[in-house]
Symmetry: C2
Subunit: 195 residues, 2 copies
Amino acid sequence: MKDDVRSKILDAGLTLLSEGGLQALSMRAVARIAGVSHQAPYHYFPDRESILAEIVKSGFETLHQYEVRAVEAEQDPVKRTSEIGCAYVQFALDHPALFQLMFRREMVDLDNFEEAHTTAISTFELPQSVIAAAHGKKPEDALNETIACWSMAHGLATLMLEGKMPEALGETRKEQDQRVREVMALYTSRFIAAR
Amino acid sequence: MKDDVRSKILDAGLTLLSEGGLQALSMRAVARIAGVSHQAPYHYFPDRESILAEIVKSGFETLHQYEVRAVEAEQDPVKRTSEIGCAYVQFALDHPALFQLMFRREMVDLDNFEEAHTTAISTFELPQSVIAAAHGKKPEDALNETIACWSMAHGLATLMLEGKMPEALGETRKEQDQRVREVMALYTSRFIAAR
DNA sequence: TCAGATTGCTTGACAGTGTCAAGTCGTTCT
DNA sequence: AGAACGACTTGACACTGTCAAGCAATCTGA
C-alpha cells in the first residue's frame, strides 16, 4: 500500500479519540500508535491541524450518514425534523470526542480546509431542507428556523457530553434517547399547536 | 493585603482568558503575569483545576447577573423566557473564553468543586422558574421545557463562538443580538400559537 | 551504467507545558 | 537562641508540537 502509513496515522487518530478522548489525541501518541517516528506524520501533512482536519472531515461524513438515515426512516416533515435532531444528538453520544473536535475552532479552523468545510456545510443543508419543508417554506427562507432547531440539538448534545445535564435526563442510553426525543418534540410541537 | 498574590493569580487568569482566549491560559503564563514564580500559584491552590474552578465560579456569578437583569427588565413570562435566553447568549459573546472554560469538563470537572457547582446550579434554577411560569407549570414539572430552551440558547452561543454559524447571522454585534432574539422567539412562539 | 535527485522516513534539538521535590528567606512562637 | 512555619523560588522531569538535519532506498536521465 502506498498510503499505508498515511491511513495508519488517521486510524490512530480516530482510535485515540474514541479510547482516550480529546486530550489523548497528541501527534506523538498518534505516531506511536501508528508505529512510526514522531515526525513521520509531518511527512504526509504540513502540520497538526491538517491531520485533524482530515479526521474532522470523516466525522462530518459520518454525521451526514446519521442524518440521511433519520430522514429515510420518516416521511412526515414534522416527524423528520425531530428525528434528524435526535440523529444529531445520537451521533454526538456515539462519538463524543470526535464531535468535540469537529466543533472546536482552536483545534481545526475549517476556513483553512476547503474540503472539510464543504463536507461540514452538507451536514447543514439536509436539516435545512427538512425543517423548511416542515414549515412549508423554501430552504433559503427558513434560516432562522434551521438555526433554532440546529442550536437546540447542538446545545443538547454539547451539554450532555460535558456532563452539564441534570442526572434526571436518564441513566441508560435508551432512557437518554427517549428524553432527547421528548425535548426535540418540544420544538416541533409548535407545528402541531399551529395546525 | 494578605491574599494579594492569590487574587493577582485569579486576575491574571481572567486577563489571559479575555485577551488571548482559552489557549493562552497556561499556569506558567498566569504566574508570569501575576509577577511570581511558576510555582507560586500552587502555594494557594492544590492544582491547576482548582484555580480554573475559582475562575469558573466567578463566571457563573456573572452569568447569573445577566439572567437577573433580563428577568427584571420584563414582566411577561413568555417575553422573559426569550429575554433570559438572549442574556445567556450575550454573556457568551461578551466573555467567549470564560464561557468555554465554564462548560468544558476536561478543564474543570464541577463534580470536584462543590462551591462552583452550587453557583452553576443557581444559574439553571432562575431560567427554570421563568420557563415554568411561561408554561403555567411548577418548576419541577417543566424540566423538559427548561432543557429545550437552555439547549437552544447554549447551542446558539456555542455555535456562534466557534464560528460555525452562517455569515448571514449578522456582522455587527447589534445585528447579531437581533438575530438571536428572532431565533429565541421561535421557541416562545409556540405559546403564542397555543393561545 | 551511474551520478543526482526525490521519496519516505528517522534522529536530534528546542521552547513550551503541568507538576513533583527541594531549597531559601523572613517572621513568629517557645 | 533556636525551632517552626509561611510564602514563596529554583530546579528537574516527562510530555508536547515543530524546526532542522540526516540517511537509506528508489527513481530519473544522460
